[in-house]
Symmetry: C2
Amino acid sequence: MAGDLKYFFEPKSVAVIGASNTPGKAGNEILVNLKANGYAGGVFPINPNEGEILGFKAYRSVKDIPGPVDLAVFIVPAEKTPSALKECAEKGIPAAVIASGGYAEVDRQGAKLQEEILAVAKAAGMRIIGPNTSGLSSTPASLTTTFFPLGKIRRGPISYIAQTGNFATHTMKWILTAENFGVARVAGLGNKIDVEDAEVLEYLGDDPETRGVLMYVEGFRNPRRFFEMARQVTKKKPVIMLKGGRTQAGAARAFSHTASLSGNDAIFDAACRQAGVVRVRRYFDLIHAAKAIAFQPLPAGRRISALAPSGALGVVAADACESLGLEMVRHSEKTQKRLREISASWVTISNPVDMSAVTPITGLVEGNKIVIETLLQDEGVDAVFPILLASPRIPPEAYSYLPDLSARYPHKPIYAAFTGDKNVFEQIRSFLETRSIPVFTALEEALETLQITCRCREAMMRD
Amino acid sequence: MAGDLKYFFEPKSVAVIGASNTPGKAGNEILVNLKANGYAGGVFPINPNEGEILGFKAYRSVKDIPGPVDLAVFIVPAEKTPSALKECAEKGIPAAVIASGGYAEVDRQGAKLQEEILAVAKAAGMRIIGPNTSGLSSTPASLTTTFFPLGKIRRGPISYIAQTGNFATHTMKWILTAENFGVARVAGLGNKIDVEDAEVLEYLGDDPETRGVLMYVEGFRNPRRFFEMARQVTKKKPVIMLKGGRTQAGAARAFSHTASLSGNDAIFDAACRQAGVVRVRRYFDLIHAAKAIAFQPLPAGRRISALAPSGALGVVAADACESLGLEMVRHSEKTQKRLREISASWVTISNPVDMSAVTPITGLVEGNKIVIETLLQDEGVDAVFPILLASPRIPPEAYSYLPDLSARYPHKPIYAAFTGDKNVFEQIRSFLETRSIPVFTALEEALETLQITCRCREAMMRD
């Protein structure tokens, strides 16, 4: 069934029902976004009163378009949708995104309209995403149906499914303006009258462009179907979920938001664990995990080795590791011997390595480089976590040994955190993340993310 | 006894033992920092080979300085310190910061030196901070003894005590480059051979410049003394602590770092609770709490009211509230009536208020303003938490209603979070935080901070 979704994610042509020449209107922004992303397929604005919109020839009806259309995007008011949808059905269009709201989320009249459009679609074998969603984006196809001003969407290996288009769009805006990783496919499912999570997840599971899947979910129409699908997909790639409505207060809100019935959260949690879905509790856990998965391999296990510029940060890192169920390993004899060679005599060789005992002997940059390589070589170490000092005296380029080492030890993830000067930090983060080293503001943030990616790997390896 | 500390935090003159004319050397950086902060007292570099350092007349020995000296800062090697300290004792200098390392943290020889300097100080009635620390800063006195390049330190109401000077300095660098709040007094206590946490806490408790105290601690020489003091201070102002060594792994590291014996963490936790000390688990909890305390009053209780730009964010906020033990309140009848007047008819009036049902009627900026004021007026609400949309279409100045409302409702804290465009977010954050509205990146971060400040207030109100 997920085969049908290729018309959503890889359409050869798109009709925009309700296209507009008025800047700022949703029917205009969609076309602006399509242009900004360089969509190369046919674009057909539908508007009976315009000859041309943003350089695209406009049509009165989809039925006037010469040749086939793969995807129709609806931004006309709810009450006008059924008749326009019928024309799409007659044209043989296989897929539609219904962006406009005014359906079951609003009132009984809207619920009736929703049933009506579903009947039209079913009869024609047409698939629907929505209504009440900004729809989808698909960077391999240079496509987006969103009507929020987004501009060019950065391509990358992360895909996500959101209960609502709003959530998908805010998240996209953050990724584009604050992060350095890119996305493959995004689906905001809205009222989910037809296409639902399980099917999109199936598509993403088979999608070579997708390395990891994020989800924001308030509820499933058919949880059994979802978890059966998840069980298969999570053996191939990580599926990380933030579930809205996990508390009583949240569940009450989720019901009034998307009419989702949350049920018992402990049962939901158990279902996730059985299906290999990794749940997280905070919104930014999704973003941080995405960054880690986009840039680095999953850790083979929970055995962490770290270095810190001061004793106190080493202590805090060790605390965070143990609290998160990660192991700050005892290094091999060989590693310890090497570390002793380059450390001040008074220091106890430990994990995290206290760099204040090393750098007076080796120099700052050279010391970090030697120690990180030594830790990467230790066979008892699954991931290396350097906590470094962001100082105006060390330019970002001085950290190029990190991507170099990452390339030479491609199976061991490196996550970096920095302390010190924020402005310098931002420069280093930009330098390193565009070279596939994920950089975190807080050491706890890095370790919390490492715990999530460890769980992803464990889910993948389960029987 | 804390009276003695005035010579550390408000000295009328400072001698720098080991001052240097060589840029980049610690003995030079201290003087650069003193100049950058506009220290107005007497500055006396001690160096037998120089006539002048950075424009200050240099002396061979402290004994050559005309007139009294309040504070001596030592950056000479450990083995040279005892004899120089004797000269300070003879001069009658009442306070010394011993910045250099090479003492008990290094070897037995260092431990012996440490005992020696303590004996000199005790005999003379001189007080010592350190050794092995960058020392202290005190913005009301335009003073710092740190030798890390920091420049001008922003003045404000937050003080902190750190086990190590390194930790204090990294944290200061972060505050100065990434935050908008300022600090009053900072003490990095190092090896704590004389002045210890309890005494500094007593000083900060009485200090009118200090509104809240942060602490990073690995262990106390005299826990009973500390907790007795904390019991008193926490009734006057918040004391928030990150304890290093709370896990087995962390405790092992803390022992090799500062020879601190962590003991049973549950017992430590109970002692904190009894003494009103609010423990946090993550480094950035300290920073976020500091921001909230610097800018806003403590919440009178845990009853939160929020607004969100999308239903999903409202759900996630409600989940976070309940998980943190905060209450997303049911609004008063009056509030509900007012909200109904300005909301779309189809929406269920709830908490968080779903602004997507309001702004189509009122406009975006106006809607947020009306709703926030309505929530501030609700007598059942202790704190208001707007989640807003950072969009390039709304300039930072459009949010000036937030500081205005905060001034009109001075007893109810407002914490804001934003979703959307990161660059716009940073502009808004800068605009609002320089007007005393704390702004958070993630909604969970804001609520986690609110829970911490609620605990501070509860500690203050306890019997």
